[in-house]
Structure formats: structure tokens, C-alpha cells
Amino acid sequence: MLSIKNLQAKVEDKQILKGINLQVNAGEVHAIMGPNGSGKSSLASVLTGRENFEVTGGEVLFDGKDLLEFSPENRAREGLFLAFQYPIEIPGVSNINFLRTALNEIRAYHNEPPLEAKEFLRLTREKQKLVEFDAKLTNRSLNEGFSGGEKKRNEIFQLAMLNPKLSILDETDSGLDIDALRIVSNGVNKLRSEKNAFIVITHYQRLLEYIVPDFVHVLYDGRIVKSGAKELALELEEKGYDWIKEPVTTASV
């Protein structure tokens, strides 16, 4: 589904990604861990097309298509989704209006007609239930006045609504209390299927007890320096990152 080869990128003349290799197949969950500032969010930004990141080398194929050629909106329409580490508030744009616009633009891209108002409402209710997100959304601006945890849940709710092929969760667990963590993870687990895939960026093994990954990667100084099975997360939690210094030449998946 996603194939990243030797991806390099810089921001403001600073090289941040120094050759990332990663292969994600449908049905898989990959966890990416790594110390602060190692480049995890940057990788998500490059994949989703944030404008201040400049790709300086490598390639990314998404279902065989050159992902980097697409505009941010077309990446989303192709089925890529990022749950932001820091979702922003947009006063004046209502949650519902935003979601309807997003959903219908994605549908239009696939030559599907806009959803009927009734059907949209039904879907909204169904997905809100799925991620146990009961915040009142009508007449409320996007993320405005939401608590940190509510914002994260809103990200997962949007994920459920837009039904992407590949979802990147950037530290969705930070700022969630233990109940919210369980709820969000349950939601993600219900959304998992043979057709979609997840990249879960986290600092905590705790999340990975709920969302069990098929692979764990360690990002360090702009490279994936170690990959392994889910047990690697436990090992990292115990030992920290100091024991991993040298980059592996290719990802072991």
C-alpha cells in the first residue's frame, strides 16, 4: 500500500529526514517510536504534503502512485489520513459543515454524488457512537473549546467518517486519560480491516497494548534505525533509546 524508499526531506535548510525506508501493506499496523525531535511528525508532514517541508530525495508510492506528486487534498482523497499531534482550532468553521464538505469533496473525487443530508446524519451518529464521541458538533466550531482529549477524539471521529486506506496517528494517545485511551483504541480496532492500514506514532508501549502492532520501528535522527515485532516496544520501554545508535541499512520488513 505504502512504499517509502530512501526518503529525505528538509525544513528551513535543516535536513530532518535522512533516508527513510518503510513498506506498509494492507491489513498491517506499524508503530513508529523514537525520541523527541527524531523526525516522526516530520515524516507524517512530508507524507501528507505540508508545504514547508521540501523533499530532497527518495520516493513514496501509495497504491503504486507517486504520492509526492499529489496536492495535500488529493492525498487525502486518495485515502491518506493524518490524526494530528496538535489538532488546531478553527473558529467560525462548524464541525459539521467541515465534515460534510470534506466527505463530499472526497466523494466527488471518486465520481460519487454528495451524501443526502439524512444519510450524512445517520453516518455521523453511527461513527460518533463507534468512537464514543458524544460532543455536540452542530453549531460548534471546529475543535473550538474542545479539551486536549476531545480534540484527539475528534481526530479519530473524522478518521471514522472519512474511512481512509492509510491512517497515520501522531501521538493520538498523549493527553488521553486511561478511559479515553481505551475508547480511542477500541474505535481504531473496530476500524481495522484487511483493506486498510495504520501507522501509529507513539512514545508509549501502553497504547500498543490496545492497538497491537504488526511491526515496531525506531526512528532516530531522521532514519529508521531498528525494526522488529511488537516485543521491541517493550524492550524500548525498559532500556530507552541509548542502545540503538547505528542505523540499519534497510528496514527489515
Binding site: S71, F84, I90, F98, T101
Partner: protein, 431 residues
Amino acid sequence: MITTTSLYDQFINLYREREITQDNDWLKDLRETAFEAFSGKGFPSTRLEDWRFTNVSPFLKEDFHLQPGAASLHGLHNPAHIPLLDAYEVVLKNGMLNEDVAIRGVKISPLRTALKNENLQSYFGRYINTEKYPFAALNTALFENGIVIEADKNIICDKPIHITHVYNAEEAVFIQPRILIIAHKSSKIQIVESVVVIGNKPLFINNVTECCVAENAQVDHYNLQIAPSNTHLVNFNQVVQQNNSLFNNYTYSLPDAAFVRNNLHLDLNGTNTESHLYGLYLAGGNQLTDNHTVVNHMFPNCLSNELYKGVLLDNARAVFSGRIYVHQDAQKTNAFQQNNNILLSNKAVVDSKPQLEIFADDVKCSHGSTVGSLNKEALFYLQSRGIGETAARNLLVKAFSFDVTNKIQIPAVREYIEKLITRKMAEAYDQ
């Protein structure tokens, strides 16, 4: 400058040669004083502080007809039509109303007939300083048509009054309409004004509106400036509020007039008044939109709240000058003023000048002005959800305008304005 002078000369001659038999003595005096003021000073130049950022002379170079004939909307698509608006509809053709319109408790009459009534003397032209404002002086000296809207004591008008101004610009025209609104004690009216222009020759509208809000009365005044690109509008709006009155003004300059200059002056002539001034200008192309507001706090315990927002595309220019003047006696004044702008093009320019002059000591006042661009993070967030750049920009511009559009009390008008915003944005980016 020669042609400008000649327009000036034409007006001087027009004044000297006009029929004056119709006017009352007080009106003759009023015109005479105004004429002296205009003939002494002429059209304003950028040397005047009030016109520093706005050079009006290029718009006065046309060979205008000064006494336009009739206009008709007959059989035309009416862009001023507001879908689903349940209102009393009044159509003015080149400023002219053919006959009285009577709504329960509200009388709308042609200015000419209304002015025969001596009582109007205490309202008409009483509060405008024609010495200071040359366009208002010119209008006062030479206005011909217009209307008087008068709401009787204790009348709560059940529906908005929608006034559609139809102007005929099949030849170059300079027109000077005049409106007087009187809301008597404890009455309440909502007035929505919009514009239709027929023809595409240069049109210069020099309008004066006066609005007297008596004790405990309420006037909501919506000025929907939606004229097409051949329009040049100078609009002087003088408001006087008495004790416990409420006045809400909504001035929305949307597509596409080449030039709009609004003067909105509030004299708070009583205690406990409340005033809200909401403005939105969305300008593209080479449009110039200029808003000058003055709020005069003269008595204690009054609240004025002003919020003007601007979105500028292409080579558009905007001027905002807001003055709040708190006189020494106006203790416990609450006066707020905000002007926020976003520039969507690096060729667009805003000159924003908020001013507070406070001579009382126990007041709460604030003012501020910002000029920025669209929030890139917000734009990216929307795009990352599959929303195209154009739609995302639209959503954000609507969000930016939200503080002023959501203040519109009439849902049909709000919807209409939001549609106009969307249309303008689409046109700007589809080129």
C-alpha cells in the same frame, strides 16, 4: 483636473439655474448654506485628512448627466432579490418613489411631498455638518429625490422593509438620492437596502441617509452594497440616537463596485443608548472600499460596539478610519472598536486607522486593528481532510467573516450575504 473642475462648474451652474419654487424657506436656507460650503471648497482632495488615502478625482472625470430620467426594473433579473426574505418591498427608481407606501404604523413617502410638512424641519439636515463634508454638502444643495420612512410611536414593524434602489446607467450618471428615517418613540423598524444598476456606463451615487432614533426606539439598518463594477458610491449616513435607543448598522460591501466610500456618523444624543456597527468588505480587482466611522459619545452610560472586517483580493484597496469621541460628560461610556483585515494577495493594500479621543475619566474603551493573511495551518488542516484549496479558502474566509455575518438578525439576509461571499471568492480564484 480640468474635467473635475468642469463637473464642479456644472454643479455650480445647476444650482444657480434650478427651479426653487418647490422648497420651503427653511429648506432654501439649508440648501443655500450647503451650497456655500460646497462652492467654497469643491470636491475633496487628498490634502484633506479625511481623504488622505482616497483620491476621488479619477472617478469625477466622466461627462456625467446630472439629472437622470426614469429607471425601470421591468422584466429584468433582479440581483437585489433576497430569496425567502419576507419583507415589505419598496422599489426606488433613480431615487424616486411614485406614491406613498403605507404599512401599519409606518409611512414611506416620496421626499418631495414629505418635505412640504414643516415638522420635518427638526430632523432633515439638522445633524450633518455640511461645512466639513463636501459630498454631503453637494447632496444637500442639490438633492431632488428620495424617501422619508417614518415609524409611528410604539409601532413594532412586523417585517423588515426592503428598499431596492434601481439606478439607470445606460448613460453616465451622477445621482444624489436622499433618505430620511425617523423612528418615533418606542418604535422598532428593520430596513434593508440594496442596489440594482441597469446599464454599464459610469454611475456615481452621492447618497445621504439620515436616521433619527427617538427615545426607546430601535432601528436595524442593513446596507447591502452589492452594486456592479461601474458604480461609484459615496454614502453619508448620519445617525442620531436619543435616550435608551438601540441602533444596529450592518454595512456589507460585496461585489463589485469600483469605489465605495462610506461615512457613518453616530451622535449619541442621550443616555443609555446602545449601538452596534458591523461592517464587512470583500474587495477584489481594482476595487477601492473606504469606511469612515465616527461615534460621538456625548452623554453618560452609552455603549457602542464596532466591528469591521475586510477581505482583500487581487489589487484591491481598503481604507478604514474609525473615530470614537468620548466627551467629558460621557462618563461610564463603553466603547469598543475593532478592524481586522486579511489580504489574500500581496498586491492588496489596507490603511487602517482606529482613533480614540477620550475626555471623560470613567470609561471602558478599546480599539484595535489587524492586517494578516489566512492561517496556513488552518488551510493545511482542511486540505489534509480532502477539502480543495479553493473550498478551504472559502471556508476560512467565511469563518473570518463569521463574527460579522452571524450578527445579522434576519436569516434570509445572512444566507444571501454568505452566498455572495462564496460567489465573490469563486470568481476571484476561477480566473
